[in-house]
């Protein structure tokens, strides 16, 4: 029988659809809880799928994957706590929107953008997976180093008032990420004889502290002049005119997300940073980013959900993982005697089509569940502060512990809450610091690996074509705002002369 038909038969059946829906709902719930990431959800639930058939297991896990990546945006918007690392940029504009009483709208935008990003990436997955994943293989240490530097150049755009302080924050972030076993030589760096620091600071508690707890501390400080925000929860579905305005941003971000997702050495976090930056660069009102502009929510969300389709490309075509979650998915396939990779296309093509179909359906379910739930979520933060804050603090603690079941992480979270609060009061911006933490290790290890490969020849970093391309666009991006200003000034002169 035709594999496409048999895939449709396999997936379109009430039981499978219900499992997929359950996966999506579960994924959203887990993703939205600070500390619980989509990666953990997929890993833990993989063992529950032992007893299922292969197709059932794959559908549940795909649902959790799609739902979990999206779910991270909810806590980011409502509480300024990114539920998953890839939602950090969503908090930047989503939280200000919630503070203005537009939490429902922000979730609506993030849901719609996530849906469109996911769907666009599925289209690329179906049409271009073999080509894109073969291209992604061309990336090696020098290319990843250049990509990391390109990512770090975003600092210039998220530093706020002072570029110097942005750079300081990034440098501090990279230093923090260096704590633990050195990835190249294995020696201990900055561990101060503490065993818990040997593998470095856990990213999730650190992030909960820097963003979530520090924000609450800020609120506690100014409790006297607190104004109750009334949440406007009627129009959570974005209007057609708004969607039209966002369409360009969403498409561009989805392309960025799909491609970065397909790279085995980069993931949703970097994709969302790059997409946010791109949206700001190309916007008519870059100054409004960070104050609650819909584009600032749509760009990172479209990008991070687009990484799902991207990450599935190397999984299905080559049998190598595109990110941490697909690495676990490979294991789940194996448990059911399916070998992802070139052989799967030969032996079980219907499974490939079932994955395409399942991912698309999971995105549709996510859209429905997300829009239906947006009002409910928005209402949750309408609780009075003297109830809401204790509950958030409890979630911060339990979530930090749950990351690796270690009390040490609770301490890390509290410490970084204090650090975040202090730096905030010294006007040091948080976003560049997180960029440093995420991209620092990528830049450092790939720089050193590239030099090991080339036996110390520095030219390898710049002369390979893809690396060179990233260096060129990095420089162009840094110069672009200045050129734009000069060009605008000149054209204005022309206008006034007339």
């Amino acid at each position: 029988m035709d594999p496409v038909l048999s895939a449709i038969q396999m997936v379109i059946n009430p039981e499978i659809l219900l499992l997929l829906l359950a996966g999506v709902v579960g994924g959203i719930a887990i993703g939205s809880i600070p500390g619980l990431t989509a990666t953990m959800a997929v890993a833990i639930l993989t063992s529950f799928t032992f007893g299922m058939s292969a197709i059932e297991a794959i559908m549940v896990l795909l649902g959790i994957y799609v739902g979990g990546v999206y779910g991270g945006s909810i806590a980011a918007i409502l509480l300024h706590i990114p539920g998953t690392p890839s939602a950090i940029m969503t908090a930047r504009d989503g939280y200000p929107m919630a503070k203005q009483g537009l939490a429902g709208q922000a979730i609506g935008i993030s849901t719609t953008a996530s849906f469109l990003g996911g769907m666009i990436s599925v289209v690329f997955l179906v049409l271009g997976a073999p080509i894109i994943s073969r291209f992604a293989l061309k990336f090696s240490a020098p290319e990843y180093f250049a990509l990391a530097i390109f990512g770090l150049s975003i600092i210039a755009n998220v530093s706020g008032k002072s570029l110097l302080k942005g750079l300081i924050a990034a440098a501090l972030g990279i230093l923090l990420s260096a704590i633990g076993m050195d990835p190249i030589t294995g020696i201990q760096r900055f561990t101060f004889n503490e065993m818990n620091l040997q593998t470095g600071l856990n990213f999730v508690p650190l992030m909960i502290g820097l963003f979530g707890l520090s924000e609450i501390l800020q609120q506690l400080r100014n409790v006297e002049n607190h104004v109750e925000v009334r949440q406007e929860i009627k129009n959570v579905v974005p209007s057609f005119s708004l969607l039209k305005r966002l369409s360009k941003v969403i498409v561009r971000s989805s392309l960025i997300g799909t491609f970065i997702g397909a790279l085995p050495g980069a993931g949703g976090t970097i994709a969302s940073f790059a997409a946010y930056n791109d949206a700001k660069q190309t916007s008519q009102h870059p100054e409004k980013f960070g104050e609650g502009i819909p584009e600032g929510v749509a760009a990172p969300e479209a990008a991070n959900n687009a990484t799902v389709g991207g990450a599935l490309m190397p999984l299905l075509t080559l049998g190598v993982p595109g990110d941490a979650i697909t690495a676990i998915l490979i294991g789940a396939f194996m448990i059911h005697s399916l070998q992802p990779g070139p052989m799967l296309f030969k032996n079980n093509p219907e499974i490939i089509y079932a994955v395409y179909l399942g991912t698309a359906l999971a995105n549709i379910f996510m859209l429905i569940v997300g829009l239906a739930g947006a009002r409910l979520f928005a209402r949750a933060i309408s609780l009075p502060n003297n109830i809401l804050i204790p509950l958030i603090l409890l979630l911060c603690i339990v979530g930090s512990y749950a990351v690796s079941n270690n009390y040490f992480d609770i301490g890390v979270m509290i410490l970084f809450g204090i650090i975040g609060y202090s730096l905030d009061n010294l006007d040091v911006p948080m976003a560049p610091m997180v960029l440093g933490i995420v991209l620092g290790p990528m830049a450092e290890t790939n720089l050193r690996n590239a030099l090991i490969m080339a036996q110390g020849q520095v030219s390898v970093l710049f002369l390979r074509p893809i690396a060179a391309f990233f260096w060129v666009i990095t420089i162009a991006m840094l110069l672009w705002p200045k050129l734009k200003k000069r060009w605008q000034a000149r054209s204005q002169e022309v206008v006034t002369e007339e």
Binding site: T39, M40, V42, A43, I44, T46, S47, F50, L137, K138, F139, S140, A141, M181, P183, I184, T185, G186, I187, Q188, M195, N196, Q198, T199, P264, G265, P314, L318, G319, V320, P321, A324, A327, I328, G331, M334, I335, S337, Q339, P340, G341, P342, M343, S404, N405, N406, T445, N449, I452, M453, Q455
Partner: protein, 336 residues
Amino acid sequence: MKNMPKVKKMWVVLISALLMLSLVIVGCNANNKTEQSKKGKYPEKPLTMVIPFGAGGGTDQVARMLAGIMEKDFGQPIICVNKTGGAGAIGYTETANAKPDGYNIVLSTSNISTIKATGNSQLTYQDFEPIIAVNFDAPALMVKADSPYKTAKELLDYANKNPKKLNVGTGTPGGLWHVGVIKLEKEAGVQFNIVPSTTGGASASVSLLGGHVDAIVIPPNEAIAQIKSGEFRMLGTMTPERLKDFPDVPTFNEMGYNVVILSLRGYLAPKGTPAEVVKVLHDHLKKAMENEKYINYMKDQVSNIIYMDSAKYKEYLAKEYESYTKLIEEAGLAKK
């Protein structure tokens, strides 16, 4: 200040409410306990299985699979807990410090024999009661199908004439696969340009696929897709005997190089766990190992089942500790 009395009153109410609540809960719990102790036999509460590595990895999958199978007969829930960090040291420490009552076990890898030498921890196998060994993986030297090297000898000959010209990828720096490459260099008297990959063996296979390195040394199960599809060619394995699934691939041992590297997984309980409890755990785990699901999984993964009982496993660990400590010192990876 007006609020003060109110607050005080609330405290009284709150505390008394809490006390009442806890009494009720304790009461319920006490009932449970008497019910359970009637049975008076191990196991009478959930078993905690510590996984010293991250969720989704190879060790994690083996542990969760065995736990899933074993839970059906064990009579008590089995809780898998990932305690990651320090090349496994954190998970080992957790179990070593747990009560030796048979309700805490850890799925160990051969890291237990290296963490002391690499300076991650002071723990060795002597701090545990070995229960059972369940599987092993061993690295192999592989090249791409279109590589000019058809045999390990050809590759080593080239490396011999061109020191530091061949880029050889491997797993995490200081890990066993890395140690294997260094050992091969020493035994064959050649010099590679070793490129470890920070995120493990799977990303080394991505580098080979992309043509960024000339060869890799990782266990076959981290590159199965490529081996099965014929994109990678195995030139030699670091096992004591040829792999069942690949009878044509010679071992380095038979080529005359003394390179045998195994990563053995097995279960350990805290020191002092009673022998009869260890026996119960051993029997349950052995039964789980014989389950078809486990056997098939290992076969699909091109991994290897190995069974050692408690005594044999302990003997093996003693030898392994000695030889790996020496290996790591030879490889120049030992700390202080």
